[in-house]
Symmetry: C2
Subunit: 266 residues, 2 copies
Amino acid sequence: MGAAEGCGSSRRIALLLEYDGTAYRGSQYQQNGPSIQAVLEAAINNLTRETARVAFAGRTDAGVHALGQVAAFDTNSTLGVREVVRGLNHFLPADVVVVSGRSAETRFDPRREAKQRAYRYRISNRSQRLALDRDRAWQVAKPLAVEAMAEAAAMLEGKHDFAAFSPPTDKLTARTLRRCEVSGQTGVEVTVEMEAEAFLPHQVRRTVGPLVEVGVGRMTVDELRRILEAAVPSSAQPAAPTHGLYLVRVEYDGFAFEPEEREEGE
Amino acid sequence: MGAAEGCGSSRRIALLLEYDGTAYRGSQYQQNGPSIQAVLEAAINNLTRETARVAFAGRTDAGVHALGQVAAFDTNSTLGVREVVRGLNHFLPADVVVVSGRSAETRFDPRREAKQRAYRYRISNRSQRLALDRDRAWQVAKPLAVEAMAEAAAMLEGKHDFAAFSPPTDKLTARTLRRCEVSGQTGVEVTVEMEAEAFLPHQVRRTVGPLVEVGVGRMTVDELRRILEAAVPSSAQPAAPTHGLYLVRVEYDGFAFEPEEREEGE
């Protein structure tokens, strides 16, 4: 993270962010379109007149939403955390909000120190397209066999080489999937919840896509197991679309956001 | 309802509609802005080349959403119901969708024959504004006493003169509120569900507003009871904003939409 300008004593502030990713090219700064980083850095500049660089706990792709993204930045501002939260929310667009804020150690790195990340994927299981949730869930028309999906999800839990669920990479692709759970009701809504210390790029969407293949009967649990075991990069297909995915929560050792402070009056 | 043009044998089709009311001035045709009626009649015209007049089960105000609005129109088209649904969804904008359709008696009147209407009102009980649900729920910052709200809601159930919960009108204001239930969790989300054969104009929002007054401690259940009993028009204040309100379901005697027909393939 870049240091804030100026010669005052710099401090680091951590933010809990919620956003609707529909209008953004993703969390990180993009040359060719709006990003969460750009609007957040602009809001910080509007509030503090400083040029800050924001770091995020997790990279989210274009269209992916966040209920609990964590961000951090440095500032020389003497504003209290509550004033920072209120001020940023004044300058941020309607589809991005700081839910909570707190002071952090100046070494706090929201990405490296994250001990657990939780994602949710929402599937609306119905014939017709979605009006209210059109940017909030993946509409799947064929009836989903929820139990078969849950069996496949349970098979994926634990420590595996998840190369099949990632684009090709030079890095290690072993991860421990602490939770992969399917819940919901055929013909209504089906939700996939996944938790791990760290995920491979696109891992959640490249898991949900094959789980839906199992749900509609185009793939068996055994076939998915063989794809996992063969560990051929990108072989778990298709990737589910971005707009059903939510970064729900990021957890740290000994660092949490306070339960919301309440304002007096609405 | 106007008869369809042409000299073929006219028939009536009933539609189950979902819409995001954010971009609309309401369900009914408005001179000065988009309406659900206008986009639906335009879609029917695009599909059938007929000028149809659509009738709705319930009038929804600007910004109010529907999960289960019922509409009906007449047509000479020989298209099957499934083709009508598919064709209308092709021509309708992304924020309006026909979830299901069926043939109806040519005398079927979706408004007059409705035996029960169900509304839901979503309240997000947190300090900061909403990014994902900014057009989908009412954000209330002060902690809501859910039990007090539930007690007030129960007090409103049954047959009463609901004049206080309606603008001034020459018509009768007695209604039977079959269900008025508050559920949810303080600091998270609170939902109000209301069911009646018929509601007064704005009755749901003029009920939810005072229930929130009870929830934040600005009104007691007894004070709300006295407002109900005094029956002074418009005295139940404030009205909750439109964007948290959903028309969930309309029920008829001996008339229902089939469980969705499934397409083969997604």
